[in-house]
């Protein structure tokens, strides 16, 4: 047996500095006292509630915003516990969650794609989760601006109307901090979002008000912070980079490629920037209502329920930075794309056994859920790039299990270990 206790303390510190995530550092600190002292005390997470962001020059009706951060994680069992869970079909399953940290260590569980809080939690769900027994990987972040009229720490999720409903891209000068160096309040950050006018709006820490960026040909659809830079796409497919000075540089114009879809998304996958184009079609729904319609007072109200816009397909393009052009991707391979209300992220299908790659999960804003309390999953659709099939999540039971219900090992974290008691 290799005698690792020979590792001198300064080497343990070198190892500690090479841990990249907050959870790896936590686990390192839990091993033994000499490892614990090699990692700085209580490594700070980036704050979830940032200082108040003023609304000046942005939205006229509120006093300002809180900026909240939600994080999307994949939870799984570590290798050693998977192999001891023989017979459990769920041992290697991954669980995709979005959480927001309220007061320290009190988490709200959220639907990864919508803003819905998963509440109330089912009775079998553990009140407390021990992270040291789990493998946690971070898949993305979701930033939202909350109108300051609502108290941020109590019942702040009850009313979704308290949120500014556009994607917020976030950049922090300290975003590449290693797990063992703490963030502090002096860190500079910048936000980019879409104003009601369709123009881009930027706010940097220290600014007194938002900057509305005048450069615009058609309304912007999406923003993203990719490799430390802000990118934005408009509804015609024009892609720009936005500098901290608020100047805009064209990356690829819509003239070099005609995008036929109705809504554009930007998402990162394995280090590449992807543009996803959503196609809607007008559909008269399943009934053929026009023959038997009574033209009465309710006609113009009812007509909306007969003519529906449906999401029918997606096309995916990859940005080739050097060549400044977009190339259509015929397949995502093992990758899954998630296009939510205000966040987008990607994952690998092999982290979620039972799910096949080359799929896009999206929130179908055009699908009217009947309001049943199912934590918002009724609004999620799945598009299969293999064959172009599209449908609600409920049609694909194998694909919904990555969201809900949680795998059985969440309820019983000690299952499967054969660790002898000390």
């Amino acid at each position: 047996m290799t005698d690792w206790s020979q590792l001198p303390r300064d080497v343990v510190e070198v190892i500690a500095r090479r841990l990249t995530t907050y959870f790896d550092a936590l686990r390192f600190r839990a091993v033994c006292s000499s490892w614990r002292s090699a990692v700085s005390q209580s490594p700070h997470r980036l704050p979830c509630h940032f200082p108040i962001v003023p609304n000046e020059g942005f939205v006229e009706t509120t006093c300002g915003f809180y900026l909240s951060k939600r994080t999307i994680y994949r939870l799984g069992l570590p290798e050693d516990r998977i192999s001891t869970c023989i017979g459990s079909s769920e041992a290697s399953d991954g669980w995709l969650i979005k959480v927001e940290e309220d007061v320290p260590d009190m988490m709200h569980l959220l639907n990864p794609l919508t803003e819905t809080q998963i509440k109330p939690l089912p009775s079998m769900f553990p009140k407390v989760l021990d992270l040291s027994d789990l493998r946690i990987s971070e898949l993305g972040q979701d930033y939202v601006l909350q109108y300051i009229n609502y108290r941020p720490f109590v019942n702040s999720f009850v009313d979704a109307g308290s949120l500014y409903m556009e994607k917020v891209a976030f950049f922090s000068s300290n975003s590449s901090l290693s797990a063992s160096s703490p963030a502090d309040d002096n860190d500079k950050f910048a936000l980019l979002t879409i104003h009601v006018s369709g123009k881009l709006a930027m706010f940097k820490s220290g600014d007194e008000k938002w900057t509305i960026i005048e450069d615009q040909r058609s309304p912007y659809d999406d923003v993203i912070c990719f490799k430390g830079k802000f990118y934005a796409v408009d509804s015609m497919g024009r892609i720009v980079i936005v500098e901290p000075s608020a100047t805009v540089t064209l990356i690829a114009s819509h003239e070099s490629h005609v995008f036929g879809g109705d809504k554009k998304y930007l998402v990162e996958s394995e280090g590449d920037l992807l543009l996803v184009d959503l196609y809607l079609s007008m559909d008269t729904g399943d009934d053929s209502p026009f023959e038997n319609m009574d033209i009465d007072d309710d006609f113009y109200e009812r007509i909306e329920s007969y003519i529906v816009e449906k999401t029918v397909r997606f096309k995916v393009y990859k940005l080739y930075e050097g060549r400044q052009n977009w190339v259509e991707l015929q397949s995502l391979g093992d990758r899954l794309l998630f296009l939510g209300d205000n966040c987008s992220f990607s994952a690998s299908a092999c982290d979620f056994p039972g799910c096949k790659g080359n799929r896009i999960y999206f929130t179908d804003a055009f699908n009217c859920s009947n309001g049943e309390d199912d934590y918002g999953f009724k609004d999620v659709g799945v598009f299969n790039l293999d064959d172009g099939c599209i449908g609600p999540l409920a049609s694909y039971p194998g694909y919904s299990k990555l969201f809900w219900p949680p795998p059985s090992w969440i309820a019983d974290p000690s299952a499967g270990t054969n660790a002898l008691p000390d």
């Binding site: 047996m1 290799t2 005698d3 690792w4 206790s5 020979q6 590792l7 001198p8 300064d10 080497v11 070198v14 190892i15 500095r17 090479r18 841990l19 990249t20 995530t21 790896d24 936590l26 686990r27 390192f28 600190r29 839990a30 091993v31 033994c32 006292s33 490892w35 614990r36 209580s42 570590p78 290798e79 050693d80 516990r81 959480v99 309220d102 260590d105 009190m106 988490m107 709200h108 569980l109 509440k119 939690l121 769900f125 553990p126 009140k127 407390v128 989760l129 021990d130 992270l131 040291s132 027994d133 789990l134 493998r135 270990t417 660790a419 000390d422």
Partner: protein
């Protein structure tokens, strides 16, 4: 770092002796990858150019020399610029080089630390950090043969650090 200029000092050969008395003939420029050895050589402590390394066994020393040779060559190819470490060729070499059993990995890390070869120490430590990522705390202890030496108070503090409470 010595430049490849064809002068006599760059082709000077030094001898390194491992703990198990194996002798390795190494070009001086390769030896200078080690800050520790560079200090020894520059202070002219070893007039007969034989440097004993009682802390490093032959099997490990041979690997260390191989690493230093490869990195010196790569740097020479780009004329001494700092970009050498980033080339794909070097990255591929490094990942294969460090793909060794635990005993060898420990040996390499301890030797790189003693010899003060920063890049090699970082490479070895990154490998350990990567190994840890996939493991639960209990498994890390098993793998590294570490005893849980926390007091009950510390255990309580650790547990609290690692909990998520759900609203």
């Amino acid at each position: 770092m010595s430049m490849i200029s064809g002068d006599k000092s760059s082709t000077e050969i030094l001898s390194l002796k491992s703990s198990d008395n194996e002798i390795f003939e190494v070009k001086k420029e390769v030896v200078l990858e080690s800050i520790t050895l560079r200090g020894m050589v520059e202070e002219d402590e070893f007039s007969d150019t034989l440097i004993p390394l009682p802390n490093v066994e032959g099997k490990i020393l041979s690997k260390i020399i191989h690493y230093c040779q490869k990195h010196t060559e790569a740097r020479a190819k780009v004329n001494g610029s700092e970009g050498a470490a980033d080339s794909k060729e070097i990255k591929d070499f490094d990942s294969e080089f460090i793909n060794v059993d635990d005993k060898t990995l420990l040996g390499i890390i301890l030797a790189a630390n003693y010899l003060n070869i920063k890049d090699l120490l970082d490479l070895g430590c990154q490998k350990i950090a990567d190994n840890i990522k996939e493991k639960s705390v209990e498994d890390v202890r098993k793998t590294f043969n570490i005893k849980n030496d926390f007091t009950p108070e510390e255990e309580k503090a650790i547990r609290e650090e690692n909990l998520w409470a759900f609203d």
